[in-house]
């Protein structure tokens, strides 16, 4: 099960966070800082999975941006690793070449995309067209408005 998804930059600043398990807002920054510290301290040739407390972190770096997913022990690390890439590919399609700034200025839309892909910590959709369909419909409606 997926416990959270974070998008963090190299400076350790959170750009997006989505939790699938209740974590108090006050506790999130320290958890995120800890998680980021662990991932940032890893070398390129080291593996992309980190054990952290009673769960695991799967992280993937895209330029200055890290995407970190916290998962339970029963989850398949590699499939999550690829899920991250699928997610980035979706973002790339939607924003036609996504950048950190896109994510910051369109936090709501990135969240909408994640909501289509992951619910309650489970992967619910991985088909790119289907992930984007609701958001594209929303955009169309908003334009018409």
């Amino acid at each position: 099960m997926i416990k959270f998804l974070l998008m963090v930059n190299k400076q350790g600043q959170t750009r997006l966070s989505k939790y699938y398990e209740q974590v108090d807002i006050e506790k999130r920054p320290s958890l995120e800082a800890d998680v980021v510290k662990r991932c940032l301290s890893r070398k390129k040739e080291e593996c992309s999975f980190v054990e952290y407390k009673d769960f695991k972190l799967v992280y993937r770096q895209y330029a200055a941006l890290f995407i970190v997913v916290g998962i339970s022990d029963t989850e398949n690390e590699l499939s999550i690793y690829e899920l991250v890439h699928n997610f980035v590919e979706v973002l790339d399609t939607y924003f036609s070449r996504v950048s950190e700034l896109d994510i910051m200025f369109n936090l709501d839309k990135v969240h909408i995309i994640i909501d289509e892909m992951i619910q309650n910590g489970h992967i619910v959709e991985t088909n790119k067209n289907r992930i984007l369909a609701p958001l594209l419909a929303l955009d169309k409606m908003a334009e018409a408005h």
């Binding site: 600043q13 959170t14 966070s17 209740q22 807002i25 006050e26 920054p29 070398k43 040739e45 080291e46 593996c47 992309s48 999975f49 054990e51 952290y52 407390k53 009673d54 330029a63 200055a64 398949n76 690390e77 590699l78 499939s79 690829e82 899920l83 890439h85 980035v88 590919e89 790339d92 070449r97 996504v98 950048s99 950190e100 700034l101 896109d102 910051m104 200025f105 369109n106 936090l107 709501d108 909408i112 909501d115 289509e116 619910q119 309650n120 992967i123 619910v124 959709e125 991985t126 088909n127 790119k128 067209n129 289907r130 609701p134 419909a137 929303l138 955009d139 409606m141 908003a142 408005h145």
Partner: protein, 1139 residues
């Protein structure tokens, strides 16, 4: 694609000031959100962040309160609020506005409203109730987008109690014409099932309908529900197996629309989901499992693409295969698959491989065997995560035999990473299992190290947690059945409870005292353990309940026959009654201080002088006392060996209590004084390990005395290498080869695994008793050390050269052909062998070995010296030494000798003909030929009579100490007619592996009118003539590898050719020269097997593990025969140098 993304993302910093980016869309940086984002990106400190967000929150608060704020602005405000909360600052005042936005906003605004709700609120929030009506309205909307949004938020967050209000509407959506609505409805129902399973009981049939939906998305969504349902009660859903299998078959077969593909892999995450469901269905159910074998195999086969995603599927598939009822063929394929993971250079795959191994070794520990070396390498991996996973794997294969090594590795790991949650978890559980598994066989310093680890270190949170973990787990252990726990573990438990149970606040010491008292009462608790328990009780008896309990215990044990117990009970009695004294002697919080031990015992000075004044005898050291005793010729009542420990145990009360605070000292004194018989008993049961310890310990002094007393006439014994490298005596690490240590580690780590079912393919399995296994290692490692010590070997080689030149000179006088091919190098090697075998007198059957080695040189001496004298003392003999080797042999003109080969041998590989001996008598020519039969070497001797007269009384005798020779000539040789050829056949196998042997031959014959004559010759046979390929599978190889105890490692030259990989080229060269069988080549490693014809039957195996490492070939040989690896290695070396 990812490259593109990376490039774009890397260009970011420069983009931040610009607004021309397409994605930044309609928001200008001058907007409020734009300003916030700009502010956030410019943050440099936490303080600044706080200032910025506080200001932002205030602004938001003001804005939301304003009646003029439009929904469009509200949407932007919500995103800003999301930012604030994301950075950890509560924006609770905006929650109600989020709900309002969801209610009143249109399209995108509404969506953002719902989004904010799902991010801000959780199921228990009362605000959510305000959302119910909005959701209901949207669900009933004619606008699909509204319905979608509502279903999305429902499946994320919804008040449980309000489910009935919307359930009928959601149910209705299951039959909606649009797939996206059906899909979202299924997901909403899944959410309902998660939070209120009873509410959706009645719609299970509708789930089935969803499973059979024509749209793959809807079907996939329903799998979430089924995974959950099947996980909870697999029995009720067995009938779905066929459906699941069919679906997986279709997915794997590529029946889904193309857009479900990910990098041309059909719906990979769906495949994984299905595989998980199958695992639950097939677990412990043969019938159901049989239904899925085909599709599982298909999955394995189809996932051949080299992409991370296929590996993810493979991993899941392997897991499923090992979860369901086993099918041998599938298991084998899955194991192979794991092998690919483990050996992969990609670190993520390696990790997954280790994880898979960890999973599967629970079913069959032997599966780890083929990967021993990789595991060992991973254990030293620079990536701590890999290391940690490896330890986890080792933890699963812990058994009584490898427990020590594994624990040592764990401790090493622990020392390295002092503060890690996972470490605590791992080590904690491992130590428990390890203690209960092998507690009594492990060396006493293991638990001691563990205890020191617990006690040492700063009093950080981690340490505290670790100790608490230990206390908790031990208490629960003691509450269970304790009779089976090893004594040492009980001792560790008592010490830990005594020291740290105060950390566990809710536990009063009375409970622990009772648990400990129960231990005391158990019949099988040893005296030593009892004294540990009493020690712990002494530390614990703080409250009245425990004091009363302590008194009970004291009464029982103060009358004990064992002095130590009586002493302890006495201490407990006194200290439990006098709290003040107890607080002084055993300060509750001062346990971490390092205690200074006053070894001069100066505090006793006063007492001593008083006693002396009162007429007591002055102190004499034990040695002095012994001497005195010896001089007085009085009877010694104590066994000599105990004199030291006894003096140790008789220390004062205060000393003992001080000891009690330091785990190491306590255990030392208790180990030595507590129960001598027990200690020696332990030594008996685990000869090997404790043996090692004693010796190691002995290096520091104690044993040194013994040795000097013994006046050892035996040659210096190579110590059985102790399992724990840190304790190696320095003398042993002359030329420590890291690889050698690794292989030792491997053999000690995997020692318990294959031994039970060591399949011996050779038919003649030599039972290798555990205590015997290790001994020869000293010898073999000594051999490699010696050969790596170049100065030494060159020196001995020089000596050998000297000797040899003499030998050779005289040998050639006596015989020609084969013998002259002996090179100085070979002889030096042979001499090395000899010394090697001398170096390890512990090898069983040693006397024989030495005798053989001795006789070898004797024979050589004979050849050199005796032969000429023989000819001299036998004047009648026609045999005259030839001054030079005869250049050529006259052969019978008409037919080549090979035509005389017996028919049954003609098809086999054979050597060239070697002329053997051509003396002055030109009428007789001898030559030999070797034929390589599968089960023996056949030596043919051709006797050519070049004269007209018949030779009579022919007799051919072949002798060699190292060989087993039997004559198989059809008719015993009697005579050879004029101008004819006679062939003698002998099958030859080796008695003992040696690099090269000399076969001595004597042909006696008589000419019609002459005296009896004899021709002497010698034929040298090399080990490689006796080597045959051994055809085994990789799996069999792995099992055999483990069961062999004699090993050797050496780096060899790599053969480089143009069109082949160096490894393949080298192995091929070895194969062609030495008749080895290449079992497998994986990456930079290759495994090779051969057998030596020896005795009857098929012979003795020797396995080679070759790895390319830094331009050399690291070869590791293993065999059940001590001499074989050594001799074979020599030939490998030679073969490669010649190539």
């Amino acid at each position: 694609m990812s490259d593109v993304v990376e490039k774009t993302l890397s260009a970011l910093p420069s983009l931040l000031s610009l607004d021309s980016q397409a994605g930044a869309g309609k928001l200008s940086p001058s907007s409020k959100l734009g300003n916030l984002i700009k502010g956030i990106t410019e943050l440099t400190s936490k303080h600044e962040e706080e200032k910025l967000i506080k200001k932002e929150l205030a602004a938001i608060k003001e804005q939301v309160a304003s009646p003029n704020t439009s929904m469009r602005q509200m949407k932007e405000i919500m995103v800003r609020a999301i930012y604030c909360e994301m950075l950890g600052y509560q924006a609770s005042f905006s929650y109600i506005h989020a709900i309002k936005l969801a209610q009143q906003g249109s399209v995108l605004e509404k969506r953002v409203g719902y989004l904010a709700v799902s991010l801000f609120l959780n199921e228990t929030d009362e605000f959510l109730l305000l959302l119910v009506n909005t959701v209901l309205k949207d669900l009933q909307s004619t606008n699909l987008i509204d319905v979608c949004m509502a279903l999305t938020v429902v499946s994320q967050v919804f008040p449980r109690d309000m489910i009935p209000a919307i359930l009928p509407v959601v149910e209705e959506k299951l039959t909606h014409p649009k797939e996206i609505i059906r899909r979202k409805a299924v997901l909403a129902l899944y959410k309902f099932y998660l939070i209120a399973p009873n509410q959706v009981q009645h719609i299970h049939s509708k789930f089935r309908k969803a499973l059979c939906d024509k749209d793959p998305g809807v079907m996939a969504a329903s799998l979430h529900i089924y995974l959950q349902l099947i996980k909870e009660s697999p029995e009720s859903y067995k009938d779905l197996t066929v459906s699941m299998v069919t679906i997986l078959g279709q997915v794997v077969g590529g029946k889904l629309p193309m857009d479900f593909n990910y990098h041309s892999i059909p719906a990979p995450w769906l495949q994984i989901q299905l595989l998980r469901i199958l695992a639950y269905l097939g677990k412990e159910d043969q019938g159901t499992s049989e239904l899925m074998y085909d599709v599982l195999e298909d999955s394995l086969r189809r996932a051949e693409m080299n992409h991370n995603m296929t590996y993810a599927i493979l991993f899941e598939c392997v897991k499923t295969i090992f979860t369901v009822h086993p099918k041998a063929q599938l298991l084998e394929k899955a194991a192979e698959c794991i092998g690919n993971f483990v050996l992969s250079p990609k670190i993520n795959l390696k990790y997954l491989g280790l994880k898979a191994l960890t999973y599967v070794v629970q079913q069959d520990a032997n599966l780890a065997l083929p990967h021993q070396m990789t595991i060992i390498e991973c254990l030293d991996h620079s990536d701590i995560i890999i290391k940690r996973e490896t330890l986890e794997l080792l933890f699963r294969i812990t058994n009584a035999q490898n427990v020590t090594v594994i624990v040592e590795k764990m401790l090493e790991f622990l020392r390295m990473t002092s503060d890690d949650y996972s470490t605590i978890d791992l080590v904690g559980k491992t130590m428990n299992s390890v203690f209960s598994l092998g507690g009594d066989v492990m060396q006493p310093d293991i638990p001691n190290n563990f205890l020191r680890l617990l006690a040492d270190g700063v009093d950080s949170v981690e340490d505290r947690r670790m100790r608490l973990f230990a206390v908790d787990s031990y208490v629960s252990l003691l509450q269970g059945e304790t009779a089976q726990l090893p004594q040492r573990f009980l001792q560790v438990i008592s010490w830990v409870l005594g020291e740290y149970s105060h950390l566990r606040e809710e536990q009063d010491s009375g409970t622990i005292m009772r648990l400990l008292a129960r231990l005391l009462d158990q019949r099988n608790t040893s005296t030593e353990t009892r004294s540990w328990v009493l020690g712990a009780m002494t530390k614990l008896c703080s409250n009245p309940v425990s004091v009363a309990l302590a008194r009970d215990v004291c009464e029982r044990y103060s009358g004990s026959l064992n002095t130590v117990l009586r002493q302890r009970a006495q201490e407990l009695m006194i200290l439990s009654q006098d709290t003040e004294l107890r607080a002084r002697v055993l300060p509750a919080e001062g346990r971490l201080e390092h205690l200074e031990v006053d070894s001069s015992l100066s505090f006793l000075d006063g007492y001593v002088s008083e006693a002396l004044a009162a007429g007591a005898a002055p102190y004499k050291s034990p040695h002095q006392r012994q001497e005195d005793l010896a001089q007085e010729k009085a009877l010694t009542l104590e066994p000599y060996g105990l004199s030291l420990p006894v003096s140790l145990s008789s220390c004062s009360v205060t000393d003992r209590l001080t000891d009690g605070l330091s785990p190491t000292l306590l255990s030392m004194s208790s180990g030595l004084s507590g129960n001598g018989t027990e200690l020696s008993h332990g030594g008996g049961s685990t000869t090997l390990k404790l043996d090692g310890v004693k010796r190691v310990w002995g290096k520091e002094g104690y044993l040194a005395q013994q040795q000097s007393v013994e006046d050892a006439p035996t040659p210096p014994v190579q110590l059985p290498s102790p399992l724990l490298s840190p304790q190696r005596p320095p003398s042993q690490t002359q030329t420590p080869e890291p690889d050698q240590e690794k292989q030792q580690l491997a053999s000690s780590l995997f020692v318990g695994l294959g031994s039970h079912n060591s399949v011996c393919l050779m038919g003649r399995a030599e039972p290798a008793p555990q205590h015997f296994r290790r001994k020869p290692r000293g010898g073999s490692s000594g051999a490699s050390e010696r050969s790596s010590d170049s100065s030494h070997s060159s020196r001995s080689a020089a000596v050998d050269n000297l000797l040899l030149s003499n030998l050779l000179d005289s040998t050639t006088v006596a015989s020609e052909g084969g013998a002259t091919t002996t090179t100085p190098q070979q002889t030096s090697q042979r001499t090395l062998d000899h010394t090697t075998s001398n170096g390890s007198p512990h090898v069983e059957g040693k006397e024989e070995g030495v005798a053989a080695g001795g006789s070898l040189s004797l024979i050589r001496g004979m050849v050199a010296v005796v032969l000429p004298t023989h000819t001299e003392t036998d004047p009648q003999s026609d045999l005259h030494p030839a001054p030079h080797p005869a250049p050529a042999l006259e052969r019978p003109g008409d037919l080549p000798l090979t035509s005389h080969l017996p028919a049954e041998l003609s098809g086999l590989a054979r050597s060239e003909l070697t002329p053997l001996c051509s003396d002055q008598d030109p009428s007789l020519a001898l030559s030999a030929c070797r034929v390589y039969k599968e089960d023996a070497l056949v030596v043919l001797v051709f006797i050519v009579n070049n004269t007209n007269s018949t030779l009579h009384q022919m007799a051919l005798q072949l002798t060699c100490k190292e060989l087993e020779i039997s004559c198989i000539s059809g008719s015993p040789l009697k005579e050879v007619k004029g101008h004819s050829v006679s062939v003698c056949l002998h099958t030859v196998v080796m008695k003992r592996a040696s690099v090269q042997v000399e076969l001595a031959g004597l042909l006696s014959y008589q000419r019609p009118l002459g005296q009896p004559q004899a021709a002497q010759f010698s034929l040298s046979l090399s080990l490689k003539h006796f080597i045959r390929p051994l055809t085994v599978s990789t799996g069999e190889y792995g099992k055999m590898w483990l069961s062999f105890s004699h090993d050797l490692k050496q780096n060899l030259r790599l053969v480089t050719t143009e069109h082949q990989e160096p490894l393949t080229a080298t192995l091929d060269a070895l194969k062609s020269k030495l008749h080895l069988h290449i079992v497998d080549i994986i990456g930079s490693e290759g495994i090779v097997a051969c057998r030596l014809l020896q005795g009857e039957g098929h012979g003795q195996p020797c396995l080679l593990h070759c790895r390319v490492h830094a331009n050399t070939l690291a070869v590791w040989l293993r065999s059940p025969v001590p001499e074989l690896p050594d001799s074979l290695l020599y030939h490998c070396q030679k073969a490669l140098t010649e190539t």
